[in-house]
Amino acid sequence: MTAHDPSLARPNTPVTTYRYDEFDAAFVRERVAEFREQVRRRLEGSLTEDEFRPFRLMNGLYLQLHAYMLRVAIPYGTLTARQMRRLADIADKYDRGYGHFTTRQNLQYNWPKLIDTPDILEALAEVEMHAIQTSGNCIRNVTADHFSGVAPDEIEDPRATAEFLRQWSSAHPEFSFLPRKFKIAVTGSEHDRAAIMVHDVGLRIMTNAAGDVGYQVVVGGGLGRTPFVGKVLRDYLPRADLLAYLEAVMRVYNRFGRRDNKYKARIKILVHEKGIEEVRAAIEAEFVAMDRGVFSYDPTEFERIAAFFTPPPYEALPAESAKLRAERVAHPAFGNFVEVNAAPHRVPGYAIVTVSLKPIGGIPGDATSQQMRVLAEASERFGFGELRISHEQNVILPHVKQDDLFDLWKLLDGAGLATANAGLVSDIISCPGLDYCALATARSIPIAQAISKRFSDLSRQRRIGKLGIKISGCINACGHHHVGAIGILGLEKKGQESYQITLGGDPTFSASIGEILGPGVTAEQVPDVIEHIVDFYLAERQEGETFIETWRRIGHARFKDVLRREGEDGADI
């Protein structure tokens, strides 16, 4: 089977996603069979819960507050219409008719039963999906830019690298019992949409002076209790060295990463405690010592994978659609949708559409099975049957003809999927928090809902412009609050939920960790505080300045000051 096997071609069948060959299919099936057996042995008693735990986690199964939770991988965020339909069917059959898209390009089901999970995994395997390594102390599902292959500023589609790494990391004999989880993200553009600076390893595709494509390797970024921006390990790593070099990184981490304290077990702590020079020296020494012939990179294999990610059969179109121009004028609501949710495409006449899973007052990232089916249909009718999941918890249609945008919008609107708020204040990233998560110290979903309602006026949101609000229900930072322009962290203080606000976080190449605004505020106060911050920004901003730019220019102290003045004596902010 090749990427362009004509027998597979039907109109709008995705041609830009990796297809399993017999070996991939067998591999995933073996993993399902193995897990079925582990569940059986757990129920029968030959595995204790402690022993079973890492294996169920390696298969994406958590034990949560109310029930089990299954985390399904969407490798590098790419999904076909058929796969999306399957996710919908699983939601209906084994869950409560919805799923939750996460910041790590995964989908979580909140209510599966242990006994059903092998069947769910089998249903996923049938459509070339799995839940392998979406959790546990192993190399996690590799994530990538959700605009891969369509971004105008792209050097190379990062999905080939991500798939290459997905295979290499799957059931790795040596690195399945690491000190802690290990997250790798890849980007291939001049703009980082994959947050590579806050991953254990971030890979940035780049070319060297000779024009060869390779990687900048960043290590030791991460959020959680001790957030760090990653450090450059190698300015330029030739592609031929990718796997060998990562083996060296992993081996050094596996041997020397701390295991005495799970909060200090991430590679970011190793980098912090030993210093980047010492870590680099150890990795380079291992890289030199290893038998690279054995790990040698196979260019044929890389090219085989890369061949799946070639562009779909685009039509030759004018750069701007006259039809679209007229429709935008005739239908202002549609015009706003295009302005906010459509992004420039590298091919003339096309657009990248962000479908917001953040309706005003909704639960960020949740999609009903009905919505998933509408999204599948939308992708088939208007986008070569391909979808993406973004780390902002939205769904992307990567190849929509500008001429089709109006029909697409009508279809989405009918399913409550046309909220024109991509990148705006109500496009909030939020973890599940106390509503689902066993680790949470506070709610996050209701906070997101309250802020979203407070800013429900979309024209006001457009005036405010791009502004990322990110909320986590505890210090683990699943909602990426540290890198939110406005970050909100839910804590528990004396039995009360308290929210700590940070400003100035940035997940891109210019990454920074947000700074704390002041003492925590109550849940009720959060929307007010956010509003004050936003108003202050609007008053201070210069022409064309984003929130983060204003914040960087005038400084954190000014933001702090204004809030002190706003609160009567400052004590409550």
């Binding site: 017999e22 595995l47 290499w168 790795h172 004999p173 040596e174 295991r259 054995v294």
Partner: protein, 168 residues
């Protein structure tokens, strides 16, 4: 202690020697890392020598003794502590061809990983062996299928298989 080799529980021919015990004149003995140098120097040539190595051992610490060693037993303090897998790889890389043993509360589910990293035998406590009978180890051994990775001990790598399939 129970010993697993090729998916079966077998009799252990090796004996762990306490540090204060005298070196024997015959048989197969496993000494501590601390006593290794002494054992290499004084053990009679006919006695097979093994060493019990903590998973934090630097491979260099074994280098001098390597030609004399017939067995290296790497300790897994907990089954989720994967350092032993990396150490095994380094020891194999250093050229050790004798028996490589994993010792600790390893699970049958990790047999694949252990075999892949170059272990030959697994030594587990009896209570664990009771819950994980031979059939489980055999099933796991049978499931030790092709891997995506190369350079590991496996029935073969997927990449090689792909290459062969493509060449046809």
């Amino acid at each position: 202690m129970a010993l697993i080799s090729e998916g079966r529980f077998i009799e252990d021919a090796w004996r762990r020697l306490a540090d204060e015990e005298a070196l024997p004149r015959s048989g197969k003995v496993i000494v501590s890392l601390a006593r290794l140098e002494h054992a290499v120097a004084h053990l009679e040539a006919g006695v097979a020598l093994g060493v019990l190595a903590p998973n934090t051992t630097e491979p260099e610490a074994l280098a001098a003794a390597l030609p004399r060693l017939s067995l290296i037993s790497i300790v897994f303090p907990a089954f989720a502590d994967g350092r032993g897998f990396s150490l095994a790889r380094l020891i194999r890389r250093a050229g050790f061809t004798g028996e490589l043993r994993a010792s600790g509360r390893l699970l049958a589910d990790q047999y694949r990983h252990a075999l892949g990293c170059g272990f030959d035998t697994i030594e587990i406590p009896d209570d664990l062996a009771e819950r994980q009978d031979e059939s489980q180890w055999q099933a796991e051994r049978a499931a030790h299928a092709r891997t995506y990775q190369r350079g590991f001990v496996a029935p073969g790598s997927i990449l090689e298989a792909r290459r062969k399939a493509a060449a046809k």
